[in-house]
Symmetry: C2
DNA sequence: GCCGTATTTGACAACTCAGTACAGAACCGC
DNA sequence: GCGGTTCTGTACTGAGTTGTCAAATACGGC
C-alpha cells in the first residue's frame, strides 16, 4: 500500500554488469551506474547499498545464470557427452555460454567472464568478490567434470584420466582465452585454441 | 652541468609496477605512485608524463625483461628442450619466470602477469596498453614455440603437431592459471594444472 | 477522492583526484 | 666560490567522486 518500485531488479543488475564489464570496477563511478541503469543515486543506495553492493548482487545474478546455464549446456546422456563438451568449449572461448541456443556475445567486453574480470581486478583485496567469482568458476567446472565422466562412461575419453583434473585444465584454457582475447586476438584464433585443447583430450587406448 | 636525478629510473618503474599490480590501474592514484616510488608529483610528471606515462613505461620495462628472460629460460639444445618446457610451465603458473634461477614470486599479486592484468582491466579502452600487453604475450609465445620445435627435432613431441598452435595453447593455459590463481586456488592446484597440460602434449607415435 | 507509505529525485557538503605552476634546492663546470 | 641548469617538493585549481538528506511524487487501500 505504497508506491511500488518502478524498475526491474534483474534488469538493473544486468545493466550494471554491462557497465562494470566495460569500464571495470574502479573505472565506473556511481554516476556511471546511475546512467547505465536509469536509477537515481538515492534509489541506488537505498536498494543496493552503493557501488559495492551493486557489484555483489550483479555477481550473484551472474552466478545464478551460470548455475542454470552450464548444466543445461553440458548435462545429458553419456552418448553425446564428448560432442557437448566440444561444442561447449568452442562457444565458451567466445563468451560464457548459458545454453546451447543462446548466441555468443558479439563483442569482447561482453565475452569475457564477468567473474574472472572482477576477480583479477579487485579479487586480491576483496575476499567477498573473490569468493563469489570462485563460486562461478566452481559451478561451471563441476558441470564440465560431470560431462567428462559421462564421456568416459561412453568410452570417448581415457577412463584413467582424472575427470576433475581435466575439468580444471579445460576451464583454465577457457579462462586463459579471456586474457588472449583481451590482447586483441581474433575470434578465429580463440577457436583454434579451443580446438587444440579439445584435440589433446586423452582418448582411450585401443589395444 | 646541472642537478642530476636522485632516483633510479628502473627502480622507480619497478615500484610503480608493484603498485599497479596490487591495486590495478584505476585503483591507484598519482599520490599512490608517488608514495610507492618516493618521487614527488613534479618529478613524476616531468619524467614520465603522469600516471598513464608511468604505466606505459612500466609495461615497456616488463616487456624488456620478458624479452630477455623467456628465451634465456627456454632456448638451448634440442636434447633438453622438452624438460625445459616442462620446467618453464611449472614455474610459469606461479609467476612469469625470467630465468631458470630466479625464484618464483612469493605472493599472488606478484605472480600474475602484469601485462595480462592491465590488458584485462583497461586494454579494451586503451589500444596502447593492449598492444604492449600483446607484445609481452608474443615474445613469450615465440620462445615457447621455438622450444616446441626443438623438442620436435629431438623426437619428444609429435612432429605433426603445429608448434605455433601448441605454443598458443600452452600460453593460454599459463594465462588462465593467472585467473584461477585470482580465484584463490592454492599453488598446488596450479602446479597440478600445469602438469596436466604438460602430460597432454602430443607425443610422437611409436609404430 | 483522500491519506499514508514507500520510492524517487535532485541537490548538497566533504573529499579525492589529476594536472599545473612556482619557488627552492642540488649539482656541474669554470 | 659562483652561475646556470636541472631537479624536487609543495601548494593550488578545477573537475569528479561519494554518501546523505529532505522534499516531491506516485500508488494502493479505504
Amino acid at each position: 500500500m505504497a508506491r511500488p518500485r518502478s524498475f526491474d531488479h534483474d534488469h538493473v543488475l544486468h545493466a550494471a554488469e554491462r557497465q562494470f564489464r566495460a569500464a571495470g570496477y574502479n573505472g565506473t563511478s556511481v554516476d556511471d551506474i546511475s546512467a547505465a541503469t536509469g536509477l537515481g543515486r538515492g534509489s541506488l543506495y537505498a536498494t543496493f547499498d552503493g557501488k559495492h553492493g551493486v557489484l555483489l548482487q550483479a555477481m550473484a545474478g551472474y552466478f545464478a545464470r551460470l548455475g542454470q546455464g552450464a548444466p543445461r549446456a553440458l548435462a545429458g546422456p553419456d552418448e553425446g557427452a564428448l560432442e557437448r563438451l566440444h561444442g561447449y568449449l568452442l562457444r565458451a572461448v567466445h563468451g560464457v555460454p548459458l545454453a546451447a541456443d543462446v548466441p555468443p556475445a558479439s563483442d569482447r567486453t561482453a565475452a569475457t567472464c564477468f567473474a574472472a574480470k572482477m576477480a583479477l581486478e579487485i579479487g586480491a583485496s576483496d575476499p567477498e568478490v573473490q569468493r563469489l567469482a570462485n563460486d562461478c568458476f566452481s559451478v561451471v567446472r563441476t558441470a564440465v567434470a560431470e560431462c567428462v565422466r559421462a564421456a568416459q562412461r561412453n568410452g570417448d575419453i581415457d577412463p584413467d584420466a582424472d575427470p576433475d583434473d581435466l575439468a580444471y585444465l579445460l576451464l583454465t584454457v577457457i579462462r586463459g582465452s579471456d586474457v588472449v582475447g583481451a590482447y586483441g586476438h581474433s575470434p578465429a584464433r580463440l577457436t583454434s585454441i579451443a580446438e587444440s585443447a579439445f584435440a589433446m583430450l586423452p582418448r582411450p587406448r585401443h589395444p
